[in-house]
Symmetry: C2
Subunit: 137 residues, 2 copies
Amino acid sequence: MSDSTRETSTELFATVKYDDKGLVPCVVQDYKDGTVLMVAYMNEQSLKRTLETQQAVFWSRSRQAYWIKGESSGNIQKLKELRIDCDGDCLVAKVEQIGDAACHTGQRSCFYRITDAKGKLEMTSKPLFDPKKVYGK
Amino acid sequence: MSDSTRETSTELFATVKYDDKGLVPCVVQDYKDGTVLMVAYMNEQSLKRTLETQQAVFWSRSRQAYWIKGESSGNIQKLKELRIDCDGDCLVAKVEQIGDAACHTGQRSCFYRITDAKGKLEMTSKPLFDPKKVYGK
């Protein structure tokens, strides 16, 4: 492997550029069929925990707390691959989604609504589980 | 189609939640094989222009200007599908990438670097074009 294709082991953390809130967006993609399941945010510590545990750990902007994806529902995301973009301000995680559904609504993907050219939305799938049963009231 | 699967035509623009800079991230995915090509940002006007022209139009945060993707390189992105997530703060655009490469480095995808569990980065692909020839010096 040439020097140009291998960088140092500290490179990821030297390369990530966090926004003014210390966060970087992470696109979560099903490792088998490439479906974009969700987009969530990581800070440096959640990125480290994701790598260490090989399981998706985000920073919840609404709760202002670490968010081990699937901690409540059991629908964890096992890390298969983690990529960083050209300018270091976005990540893509390819994961194995346990329980098939990534969205808190019970949908497989958070992106279950499609728009037409005029902005009319349509649901493209049905929930795989009932959120009330999984998360309680 | 039932009421629950069809929403009104103003729904997209009523549903999008912009951040404190008036922007929403948009994951751009190859419509054929699902590769995540890039992530860029849209404001309301660039979102409207994307729908009207059926071609990706972003807001460049670095240049603070509208950014018709591919305007310089010719590598435009034809819109095939646009989705919005459960809480309205992220978009996924499936596109036909003209010229195959989406990244300004000449790579097909901006996410050409993969990390191992220790944060060591590795290039996973080679550029499809020479940026100097496409963009000049």
